[in-house]
Amino acid sequence: MAATDTASIPDGIRITRMRVENFRSLRDAYLPLGDMTVLVGENNAGKTSVLEALAVALGGRARFTDLTLDEAGNRAQSFRIDLRIEPASGDIFSADYAGIFGEGVQGHTSGGADYVNLRTTGTWNAAEDRIDTLRQYVKGWEDGAAAAAKLGVGDRVKTGEVFDVLVFQLLGAQRDLVDQLRTRSSPWGRLMGNLKLAEAVRKEIESALGVLGGRIVSESSVLARVRTELGQLARAIRPGVGGAEIQALPTRVEELVRAMEVLVSATHGPALPIAQHGMGTRSLAALIVFRAFVSVGLLSAKRTFHPVSAFEEPEAHLHPQAQRAVFPQIAEIPGQRIVSTHSPFVAGVANVFDYRVFRRCSRGIEISWIPARRAGKPTFGPDERDQVRRFFQRRHGEALFARAVVLFEGDEEAGALGVFAWARFEQSPDALGLSLVGVDGAGKERLLARALLPLRIPTAALLDGDKAGTEAARGLAAEIASSPADAPSHVVVIPGGASFARHLVDAGFGASAERGIGKEFGPSALTDFKARQNHQRKGKTEVRDYDSPGWEGRLVVDFLSENKGRYGRAVAEAIVADAPEPASWPVAVRELLDWIGPRLGL
C-alpha cells in the first residue's frame, strides 16, 4: 500500500479530520481520516451520510433532504461540515497548495503542521427552494461542535481552484460498468473523452475510418439503394442539390469508442461482452475502471492533484472470494480512499487502525476508532501495531463487527463457550453478534483489549488460574484501568489455580468429558492415551500414575490439555446434554455467560 500513500505523492496533502453537524443522520459527528478509512457498522448508522457529507464538502451540491430530520419531524435550518487538510509530509504546504488555499492556511506554531479548515455551511433558502452553500476557511480547528461554532471565519474558498485539484469521486453501491460504457459523465466516459492520441495518428485513423465507412456503403446493396432514394428525395426538396450521403461510421475516434465493448473471459470459457456477465463481474469491472480513471488523472499534465475516492459497499453483488479481492484493488487507488462496508471479508483485509465503527445509540450516532496516540504516547509500539493488525486481518475480522468479544487463551475454550452460549441463549454466537476468539496462549489479550475497547466493543477474557493466566489477568486489568471507559469489560480467572480442562472436571463433569472425548477422538482414544502415557514422566518431577487415588480425574485433564484446540465443542456438547440447566454449569462458564447476556441485550 506504500506506493499509494498520500505522503508518497510529492508535496501532497491529506484530509485528516472531518466534523459534521446536522447533515442527514449525523447530528454531531467527528472522525479522523487517513489515507485509507474503512467505515463499518450496521445499516442506518451514518456511514453513507459521511460519504455524502464528504461529497458536499468537496464541491458537491446539497439537497433539502440533507438537512437532519429530528424525532419530531423538523428539519434542521442548516448543516455544517468542517474538513481539516494538512500537508501530507512536512509542516508547511507546498507552493502549489499554499497558492490554492491562500490565506486559509492556519497553524504556523511549533505544535503540529500547518492546516486548513475548510467549512461548508448549507442553509435552507425557502424563497428560492434550494440550499445556499457557503464555503469558507475557518481560523483554527476544534473537534467539538460547541467550540467549533465559536471559531472565527476567514476568506471564502476559491472553489474553482480548490476543487480542480481536490477531486472527490464516489463509487456508489449501484455501480455497473455496463451503464458507464454509455454515459459520458461516468469515469469510463471521462476517460474515453480524451484518448490523448498523437495528432498524426488520429488523422491516420480517422481517414481510415472514412475509407471503411465508404466501403460499407458501396459494398452493401441495401445501403447503396437507400443512398439513391435519399438522393432523389434531396433533389425533390431542393433542386440543384447533388444528393445525399450516408456516413456508415463516425469520423471522430471519440465517437467511435462510445460503441466500445469490454470483453471478459473466465478461466475456461469464451470472452463475453461485459453486459452478459453477472452483476458481480460488472461491479468489479466498474471499480477497476474507476481505479484507472484516478491513476490517469494523477499522471496527466496537472502536477497538483489530490483524489479523494469514496466507495459505498464495494462488496455489493460479489461472492466472498471476490469480496476479499476487491479490497486490494481499492488499496491500490492513489490518493485518499474512504470505504463503507458491511463485509467482514472486506474488512478482514483492511487494517484495523483504519476502522471507524458506527453505532446507533441513545444519544444518536457514535463513531469510534483506535486512537493513534493515548496520553501523549503512541497507543501501540511498531511491533504491537503489526501484531494487532495481523491478528484482525488473518483471523478475526468479524470481531470488529461483534456486539461483544470474549478472548480465550486457546481455541478449545472458544469452541466450548460457543456451545454453552448457544444452549443458554438459544441462538448461534454468529447470530447473536458474539465473537469468541482464541489468542494462542496468555498475554495477547492486553493488546487486543487496547484495540477493541476504544472501538466500543464490550470485551471479556477467560484466563487460566495458573501463573501465566493470573499474570495476564493482572496485565489486562491494568490495561482496562488505564483505558477510558469506552466499553464494558470483564475478566474471569478460573478459580483454584486451575486450567479450563481441570475446571470442567472439578465441577463434576469428568464423565461428560470422557464421553465427549470418545465422540471426538474415537471410543478408545482415552484408553490408548493411558496405555501410552502411564508411568511416563510428566514435567520434571512427576511420574504419571493414573491408577493411584491421588491421580483421580487426572487422566481426562491431561488428555485434554495435551490435545488442545480440538476438544472444546465435543466436551461442551456432552456437558450440555448431561446437564441442560445452565445453573449447574462450571462457575467460570456461568460467570462469563452472565456478563455476555446483557451485552447482547438478552
Partner: protein
C-alpha cells in the same frame, strides 16, 4: 508608453530565477518590464499555483499593473499579489496578526490630525494636558514625525533615548509610549505600524514567514530606491536564507523618500545580502530629447548623482519642448499656466515636438501641474476654479468622501469595528448635524448612540442600517448597498449630486475590491482598511492633475508644468544638510522626468506673505543647473 522592446528589457523579462537588481533611469520602462516579467513567469507555469508578490510604490500602480496582467493572462492574474508595502502588510496582518494583537478588521488612522489627537489622549493618561494647540501643536507634530521615523527603522519606544528637550513638557520616548498606549486602547493603528508589525509577526512566527516564502515563489519590488529600512528588513525576514528569486527595480536618482526612512543604501545591501547581479536599463522611452537634456544637465551638476548613473538617452524620436518663464507674481504665473493649458487642450501639441506620426491631441489627464509643496498650488487651484476647469487633486484633507452622508456611513462602519476608538467616534458625530446634543451622545456606548440617531431625520436611515449590520454581515455586498441607499438625498441639487457621486465612488471602489479579492470573500473590514490606505495619494476622476512631486512619483504626463521654481521653494527652504540638498536635486530630477513631451518651468518674481507684504524671490538654482534661460513675462 511607447513599447519598443530593447534587448536590455528582454533580458530583464527573461532573466532566470535568482536575485536581480535592475537599475534604470526614468522612463526606461521599469514598471513595464516588471509587468512583462510577471506575465512571462505566469505563462511559463500554467499548471502551477504558486503566487508572485509584486510590490509597487502606490496603490494606483498596483491597480494598473494588475489590470495589465489580467488583460494578458485572464484568470491566472489571481496568482499575482500586486500591492504596495502597506497593503501587503495589511493583508498579512488581517489574516494572521491576531497572534500579536492585530484584529482581522483593523481601524487605520489616516490623517495627521487624528494621530495628533491620539497623542494628546495618550498624554492625558500621563496626567499631561497639552490641549493648547497653539503652544504645543508644532512640538507634538514634530514628535509624531520623529515617532514615524523611529517606526520606519523598526525602533520600539524603549530603544529611543529618554531625553526631554529644554522647555518641553515631555521627551520623545514618553511621547512614543503615550502614543502607542492610546492607539492600543482605542484599537487603532497607523501606517507605520503595518511594516513594523508584519516584521514582528514574521520574526515571532518563523513558520509563517516560511509559508509565505514558499507561497511567493517570486518577489519583485518596483521603485526599490524608496524602500524603507523597515520594509527592507521585512523583505529579508520574509525571504530568510532560502528565498532568492527577488528582483528589485530601482533608479537611484529618483530616491526621494528619505524622510520616510528610505535609502539607496538598501540597494547596495540587497546586492550583498542576496548576492544580486545587476542588469542596467539605459535609455528612456518616455522623455523627449530636450527634456532628457535638461535632466542630464541636472545630474551633471551634482557629482554624487552623476557617479551613480550614466547619462540617459532618449529613445523617443521626439524633440519635445522645454520652456522656463518668470512672472511678476503668483497670480500672473497661475494665469499664464492656465492660459497655456487651455491652449494646448484646444489645439494640441505642435508637430515639431512630437515623434513622427504621434498624436497631437491632448486629454486633460495628460497634463499635470507639479509643485514641491502643496500650498504653492493654492493660487493655481483658485484660478482653475475661477475658470471652471476641472482638475483632480491628490488626497484632499477630508478623506475619501465629499458628502456628510457618506462620511457618516464610513465613520459609522469604522466605529462598529473599533467601538473603543474615541477619535473615530468624534468623526462620526462631527458628520451629524441633527438636533441632538453631541455632548449627550458622546458618553454613551456605540449601540446606544446609534439607537438614538436611528430616529433622527438626517442620518436615521443610515444609523438604522448600521444597527442592522451589527448583527453580523453575512452578505457584505447587500449590506453595503443597503447602507449606501439609506444615505438621505439632500434637497439642494448640488448637494444631491455630491451624494450621488460618493455613492458611485463607494460602490465603484467596492466592486474593484471585490474583483481583486476574487470569490475569496471580501469583508467590509478589509475594504475599509483598504480605503484608508488608498485615501492618501489617490488621484482619480477626470481633469488636469494638480500634484506634489512626491505624489507624481511613478506617473508620467505628456505636458508638465512645474511651478514655484524659486530658491526656498524648490529646493525647499527646509533642506539644509548636504544629504537633504542632494535629495532636493533628486526631487527636481523626478519632477522634470515626469514629462514626456512638454516641460514648462515657471516662477513668480515676488510672493505675497501672510502679513500681506510682497517679498522678492530669487530664482531656483536648479534652473541654472539645468542650463535653462528664463524669460521674463
Amino acid at each position: 508608453m511607447a513599447t519598443i522592446p530593447s534587448e536590455q528589457q528582454e533580458r530583464v523579462v527573461g532573466a532566470a530565477d535568482g536575485p536581480w537588481l535592475v537599475l534604470a533611469p526614468p522612463g526606461a520602462g521599469k514598471t513595464d518590464v516588471l509587468t512583462r516579467r510577471i506575465i512571462r513567469l505566469l505563462e511559463d507555469t500554467p499548471d502551477e499555483h504558486f503566487r508572485i508578490l509584486a510590490v509597487t510604490f502606490t496603490v494606483k500602480a498596483a491597480e494598473s499593473m494588475r489590470q495589465r496582467i489580467e488583460s494578458r493572462v485572464g484568470a491566472q492574474w489571481r496568482r499575482v499579489v500586486a500591492r504596495n508595502w502597506h497593503a501587503f502588510c495589511l493583508d498579512v496582518l488581517r489574516h494572521y496578526g491576531e497572534a500579536i494583537g492585530f484584529p482581522p478588521e483593523p481601524v487605520i488612522v489616516e490623517s495627521d490630525d487624528d494621530r495628533l489627537k491620539t497623542l494628546v489622549l495618550g498624554l492625558e493618561d500621563d496626567a499631561l494636558r497639552v490641549t493648547d494647540e497653539e503652544r504645543w501643536g508644532p512640538f507634538l507634530r514634530e514628535c509624531l514625525a520623529r515617532i514615524s521615523r523611529e517606526k520606519r527603522v523598526l525602533r520600539q519606544p524603549d530603544a529611543v533615548p529618554d531625553v526631554r528637550p529644554p522647555g518641553m513638557p515631555i521627551g520623545l520616548r514618553q511621547a512614543y509610549e503615550a502614543y502607542e498606549r492610546a492607539m492600543r486602547r482605542h484599537g487603532t493603528f497607523d501606517f507605520d505600524d503595518l511594516p513594523l508589525l508584519t516584521y514582528r509577526l514574521f520574526v515571532e512566527r518563523p513558520r509563517l514567514a516560511r509559508h509565505y516564502r514558499t507561497l511567493f515563489k517570486y518577489i519583485l519590488v518596483d521603485e526599490a530606491q524608496d524602500t524603507s529600512r523597515a520594509q527592507y528588513e521585512l523583505l529579508k525576514v520574509l525571504c530568510g536564507s532560502e528565498h532568492r528569486n527577488v528582483m528589485m527595480v530601482a533608479d537611484r536618482n529618483q530616491s526621494i523618500h528619505a524622510f520616510a526612512g528610505a535609502s539607496t543604501r538598501h540597494l547596495d545591501e540587497f546586492r550583498k545580502d542576496f548576492g544580486a547581479a545587476e542588469i542596467p536599463l539605459s535609455g528612456t522611452f518616455r522623455c523627449a530629447e530636450s527634456i532628457v537634456a535638461v535632466a542630464n544637465a541636472l545630474l551633471r551638476s551634482e557629482p554624487a548623482l552623476a557617479r551613480d548613473a550614466p547619462e540617459v538617452e532618449s529613445e523617443t524620436g521626439a524633440a519635445g519642448c522645454v520652456r522656463a518663464w518668470s512672472f511678476a507674481d503668483e497670480t500672473a504665473e497661475a494665469r499664464a499656466v492656465v492660459d497655456e493649458i487651455t491652449r494646448l487642450l484646444a489645439s494640441g501639441l505642435e508637430p515639431a515636438w512630437l515623434a513622427p506620426g504621434e498624436q497631437a491631441a491632448l486629454a486633460p489627464e495628460d497634463v499635470a501641474v507639479l509643485v514641491r509643496n502643496r500650498f504653492v498650488a493654492d493660487t493655481l487651484r483658485a484660478e482653475l476654479d475661477a475658470r471652471r476647469i476641472r482638475y483632480a487633486d491628490a488626497g484632499g484633507p477630508r478623506g475619501v468622501f465629499e458628502s456628510r452622508g457618506f462620511r457618516f456611513l464610513f465613520y459609522g462602519l469604522r466605529a462598529l469595528q473599533a467601538p473603543s476608538d474615541a477619535i473615530g467616534r468624534e468623526h462620526l458625530l462631527a458628520q451629524y448635524e441633527g438636533g441632538l446634543d453631541p455632548d449627550l451622545l458622546r458618553g454613551d456606548d456605540l449601540a446606544a448612540v446609534l439607537q438614538r440617531l436611528a430616529s433622527d431625520r438626517a442620518v436615521g436611515p443610515v444609523a438604522a442600517e448600521l444597527i442592522r449590520s451589527r448583527e453580523g454581515i453575512l452578505d457584505p455586498d447587500a449590506a453595503l448597498r443597503r447602507l449606501a441607499d439609506a444615505v438621505p438625498r439632500p434637497e439642494k441639487e448640488e448637494d444631491r449630486e455630491t451624494v450621488e457621486k460618493d455613492h458611485e465612488l463607494l460602490l465603484g471602489k467596492w466592486q474593484a475590491f471585490r474583483h481583486e479579492e476574487g470569490n475569496g470573500g471580501p469583508t467590509l473590514g478589509g475594504f475599509l482598511a483598504r480605503l484608508a490606505l488608498a485615501g492618501r495619494s489617490h488621484v482619480e476622476g477626470p481633469g488636469v492633475r494638480v500634484l506634489t512631486v512626491h505624489a507624481a512619483k511613478g506617473l508620467e504626463f505628456r505636458a508638465v508644468f512645474l511651478l514655484g521654481m524659486n530658491e526656498g521653494g524648490f529646493p525647499d527652504y527646509r533642506a539644509t544638510g548636504a544629504e537633504q540638498r542632494l535629495e532636493e536635486v533628486r526631487n527636481a530630477y523626478v519632477a522634470v522626468t515626469r514629462a514626456s513631451r512638454v516641460l514648462w518651468l515657471s516662477r513668480p518674481r515676488t510672493r505675497r506673505l501672510r502679513s500681506g507684504a510682497l517679498k522678492e524671490q530669487r530664482p531656483s538654482s536648479f534652473l541654472g543647473r539645468m542650463g535653462l534661460p528664463v524669460a521674463d513675462r
